[in-house]
């Protein structure tokens, strides 16, 4: 299968860089897969699981906040948080959900409440997906 260059960048470091065959990105409007030769495309991210398929086993990372940019030179994902699923303890995720829950309760006006509520839902569904993933054999 054709490969393309992929980079996953967090503000603190370059998390992943290399040639891959497919990347599945949790886009704000639904997950999408990127293959080699994708049309130029920009999408924001929702909290969720990013899957990198290259040589060997697929690598899964939890990503949060940022955007993905596909262009003829390859795919770049900028994420504020990018943690391999194996290194993400369940209680940290639970803590994130609790924080988001508090944010919803603290929200001043209706618009912020709605956007924070949406963020909380996305976080919960990401947690559910991770839970399901950890139970199924790889």
């Amino acid at each position: 299968m054709a490969t393309f260059p992929f980079e996953l960048v967090s503000p603190e470091r370059l998390v992943y860089s290399g040639a891959v065959t497919e990347v599945i990105v949790p886009g704000a409007e639904g997950e999408f897969g990127i293959l080699a030769g994708h049309a130029p495309f920009v999408s924001t991210l929702k909290p969720g699981v990013l899957t990198i398929k290259g040589d060997g086993a697929a690598r899964k990372l939890f990503v949060r906040g940022g955007f993905a940019e596909a262009n003829p030179q390859g795919l770049t994902v900028l994420a504020e948080t990018a943690i391999p699923l194996a290194e993400l303890p369940a209680e940290k995720l639970a803590q994130m959900i609790r924080n988001a829950q508090e944010d919803v309760e603290d929200a001043g006006d209706e618009a912020t409440r709605a956007s924070r509520q949406q963020f909380l839902e996305q976080l919960k569904s990401a947690a559910a997906a991770i839970e399901a993933d950890s139970r199924s054999p790889h």
Binding site: E7, V9, S10, P11, E12, R13, L14, G27, A28, E29, A39, P40, F41, V42, S43, T44, G65, G66, F67, E69, N71, P72, T76, L78, E80
Partner: protein, 294 residues
């Protein structure tokens, strides 16, 4: 004239000081390497963010519903100065040069009849500005990062505060002051405008094919999502540059101090030896003249 014992004590104390400055220099050198690596690791993120935002911003900025973080409030009456300094001193002119350009800007703006608000990050900047601008300082954040350096979460917290203040209409223009790291001996105090956001014009002519991006959700939504993030990224970049600059400045300051202490020890050892020789000569003369008198 100082006695031999005094001179010995003085030399010993300068030697102890020299050991301290030498150790600080070496610690700063090690920290500098780490700070430089952190700054380099953060660069790709900031660069990509800027190129994507520049692309979107150039297509949308003319529109009436462009976000205010990009276009500003249409006024420039109230200015927010974000002054980023270190938590610690003993790093040469690092803190004072940042404070100096911030102070000059503040005075110039106040001279034009504008309102100035100051947001201090780092204890040293607050200490230096407190006396002159007590009424203008609206917010102080201290970075207690004993190890590991600044994290993105620190920058995020600062950016969130600025974003909330902007949303509440507390200022029109935000500028950050930090020190750009050029080399160990050269750090350039820099002012950078944060709000309204400024981007280098994208090189659209050179890569015409790149202009046909598809956006999901719409361009406006992406811009609204990314601009607050960009604020945090810019603050983070400035904090990292500052971190490297601070260590660089401390390293050269401590190098100077070590060299000065060495010169001082040399001079005092000379005085000590001369005094000792003079005393021996004096004692000899006393003995000889005593013997002759017999």
């Amino acid at each position: 004239m100082a006695s031999l014992k005094d001179l010995r004590n003085r030399i010993a104390s300068v030697k102890a000081t020299q050991k301290i400055t030498k150790a600080m220099q070496m610690v700063a050198a090690a920290k500098l390497r780490r700070a430089q690596q952190a700054a380099e690791a953060a660069r790709p993120y900031a660069v990509r963010m800027e190129s994507v935002l520049g692309n979107i911003a150039s297509t949308i900025s003319g529109g009436p519903d462009a976000p205010r973080l990009l276009t500003g409030t249409g006024q420039e009456q109230t200015h927010l100065l974000l002054v980023l300094t270190a938590e610690r001193g003993l790093c040469g002119a690092f803190n004072s040069s940042i404070v100096r350009i911030a102070r000059e800007r503040a005075l110039a703006l106040m001279g034009q009849g504008k309102t100035v608000k100051i947001f201090c990050v780092g204890r040293k900047g607050h200490d230096a500005l407190r006396r002159q601008f007590e009424k203008q300082i609206v917010e102080v954040v201290e970075l207690r990062t004993s190890k590991g350096g600044v994290t993105f979460a620190d920058a995020q917290k600062i950016a969130d505060k600025i974003g909330a203040m902007f949303a509440a209409g507390e200022f029109d223009v935000a500028t950050q002051f930090f020190s750009r790291f050029q080399s160990v001996i050269s750090q350039v105090p820099t002012a950078q405008q944060l709000i309204p956001a400024t981007f280098a014009e994208p090189a659209a002519a050179a890569e015409g094919a790149e202009a046909v991006y598809e956006y999901e959700p719409g361009e406006a939504e992406i811009l609204a999502d990314l601009l607050p993030r960009n604020l945090a990224v810019q603050v983070f970049k400035a904090l990292l540059e500052n971190g490297a600059s601070e260590q660089g400045a401390r390293m050269s300051a401590m190098d100077n101090a070590t060299r000065n202490a060495g010169d001082m020890i040399k001079k005092q050892t000379l005085t000590y030896n001369r005094t000792r020789q003079a005393m021996i000569t004096k004692e000899l003369i006393e003995i000889i003249s005593g013997a002759e008198a017999l």
